[in-house]
């Protein structure tokens, strides 16, 4: 009897994560979707964003989000993969044991601290040495690239680690160098884990808010170069939510809806990939 009660109580508790997800989905959509229909798709996907005057175009923000995310991947993926490969294949056990938590510490640093370092160090550097106002696609990409490192390193690291030792031994026995083993055997074997790490890193970059607000410049137009300021979907929500009312607030939830859909798609891909291995 006691066991039965426990079982059912635990089942209910276990569903709370799902319940929370459903509640979030419901409220974000319920607040955002009606506005998309009210404004019409043409208005919603135009480049004119002036929500207090009935213009709800989010195209320039979508382009902005895509640009900084792509930039972040350009920086984060090579760095992160290199770290993962170096740690699993080329470093001693002690080094591995000590460096992994250090890299994971990067994930613990608050995103506002990254944004702050961006404002104080990176933005002035870009302004003085490369050009433009400093607040830019470039600055955001670099900071986001660093921020997604821990995600990419730890998931690729784990997937490289579970490649059976016999694969390595076999390849080395055939006369391959360690590097040939990495490129021809290990990376293909760990492929889906590595891709998962990149997709989840992408999710982090698309969704990051506070750091981007601080360094992106937030100008409402499609940037022409990587030195131009940019505004993302997330920064628009965070910048305007506290004073928005009526349709304006609903438009911000519509931005949230779009962001939500992007994240769910990325998560589904990641889940599918992980299950296959």
């Amino acid at each position: 009897m006691k066991d039965k009660i426990a079982r059912w109580t635990l089942l209910v508790i276990a569903f709370s994560a799902v319940l929370a997800l459903l509640l979030i989905t419901f409220f974000i959509f319920q607040q955002g979707v009606p506005l998309i229909f009210k404004a019409g798709l043409k208005n919603f996907f135009s480049t004119q964003w002036s929500p207090t005057h009935g213009k709800f175009g989010i195209s320039s923000m979508i382009v902005g989000s895509l640009m900084v995310t792509f930039g972040a991947l350009l920086i984060g993926v090579p760095l992160g993969l290199s770290c993962a490969i170096f740690l699993t294949e080329f470093s001693s056990k002690t080094l591995q044991k000590n460096l992994k938590p250090v890299i994971e510490l990067l994930a613990g640093i608050p995103s506002v601290v990254y944004g702050f370092i961006g404002i104080i160090v990176l933005v002035p550097f870009i302004r003085e040495h490369i050009g433009g106002p400093g607040f830019s696609v470039l600055a955001s990409s670099i900071i986001l690239g660093i921020m997604i490192l821990p995600t990419i390193v730890s998931i690729s690291y784990d997937s490289l680690l579970v490649v059976p030792g016999t694969y390595r031994a076999g390849s080395l026995a055939l006369g391959a160098t360690k590097w040939q083993t990495v490129t021809m055997v290990l990376i293909p074997a760990a492929r889906s884990g590595i891709i998962t790490s990149i997709i989840l890193g992408m999710g982090r970059a698309v969704g990051e808010t506070m750091a981007v607000i601080m360094i992106a410049g937030n100008a409402l137009k499609i940037p022409h170069s990587i030195l131009d300021p940019v505004r993302t979907i997330t920064s628009t929500i965070a910048l305007e939510l506290s004073y928005s009312v009526g349709d304006h607030r609903m438009a911000l939830f519509a931005c949230g809806t779009i962001l939500f859909i992007i994240i769910i798609i990325l998560n589904i891909i990641a889940t599918k990939l992980t299950r296959r291995t």
């Binding site: 508790i13 170096f86 929500i237």
Partner: protein, 279 residues
């Protein structure tokens, strides 16, 4: 065309990988040292224990420290039992199957959700619909949902790694399932579960986007769960972005980083102790 010898490629690849790894570590060290170098001199007893004056230009950060503690504590009190309960169900009561897949997918989606989405949700649901207003309550509940997947995942791993023999011995002595879980499995998995809780605390403390729209940014000392409050991360964000006071911003960031370093260190030590015992 000349062909590079595999041996040479190997040396080049090794050097490049080493260099990129060093760069990554260097970035981390740079961030921490840079904040410390500029912020450590701001730290003083009075900075930690004085109320904030003139929007943060003067005075200390006591209200934000209290606010951070309360919001974090509240979220942990809510999220820990739910998270550990879910993990127990997932590991002890299911063997694969649809229920497990659904719950796992839910937890994974929550884990991958950007914090601004939690902010939007908490704002419309807790603050406006449930009329909790900008408060410790709204902020804590929002953060509880956010850190739930961290606690579920870590507890699940911890409970999974408890050797099956422990359970079997308990059953063979006549212990029921629930007794076995409470008396044998949970105590054994405790360090692992604690690691998850501590990592959750770390996430809650460093969060900004989800709390600024749910707990608000009041600088007054909170008097009840319904008071609006400003956490350290939010205070730091406002100081830095609005350029109110750079020295105070560095000081606040230093406090934040010290807390995060401590939390990660404790979590790492706990996990390490746990792993070396059971693997």
């Amino acid at each position: 065309m000349f062909k590079i010898k595999p041996k040479t490629t190997q040396v080049i690849a090794y050097s490049v990988l080493l260099a990129l790894t060093v760069i990554t570590i260097a970035v981390l060290v740079f961030i921490i040292l840079f904040i410390f170098k500029n912020g450590i001199r701001e730290l003083s007893w009075s900075f930690l224990t004085q109320p904030t004056k003139e929007m943060g230009k003067e005075g200390g950060i006591l209200p934000s420290i209290v606010g951070t503690l309360l919001v974090t504590l509240f979220s942990i009190i809510i999220a820990t039992p739910i998270g550990v309960g879910s993990a127990i169900y997932l590991t002890e009561y299911t063997k694969g199957g649809a229920i497990r897949r659904i719950i796992s997918f839910g937890a994974d989606c929550l884990a991958g959700m950007p914090s601004i989405i939690f902010g939007l949700f908490g704002f419309i649901f807790f603050v406006i619909m449930l009329k909790m207003g900008w408060s410790i309550l709204s902020g804590g509940l929002t953060l509880a949902i956010m850190i739930l997947p961290t606690i579920i995942r870590t507890s699940e791993e911890a409970i999974k790694s408890v050797p099956n023999a422990y359970r079997e011995i308990s059953y063979s002595l006549g212990g029921g399932k629930l007794d076995t879980i409470i008396k044998i499995v949970l105590p054994t998995a405790l360090p692992g579960i604690l690691t998850g809780v501590i990592l959750g605390i770390g996430r809650a403390i460093s969060e900004t986007a989800a709390v600024i729209f749910t707990a608000g940014s009041s600088l007054n000392m909170p008097t009840s769960l319904f008071s609006s409050t400003r956490t350290l991360a939010v205070h730091f964000y406002i100081l830095a972005r609005e350029g109110i006071s750079m020295p105070k911003a560095y000081g606040t960031a230093t406090v934040l980083i010290i807390i995060i370093l401590l939390i990660n260190f404790i979590a790492y030590r706990l996990m390490h102790k746990f792993i070396s015992k059971y693997y």
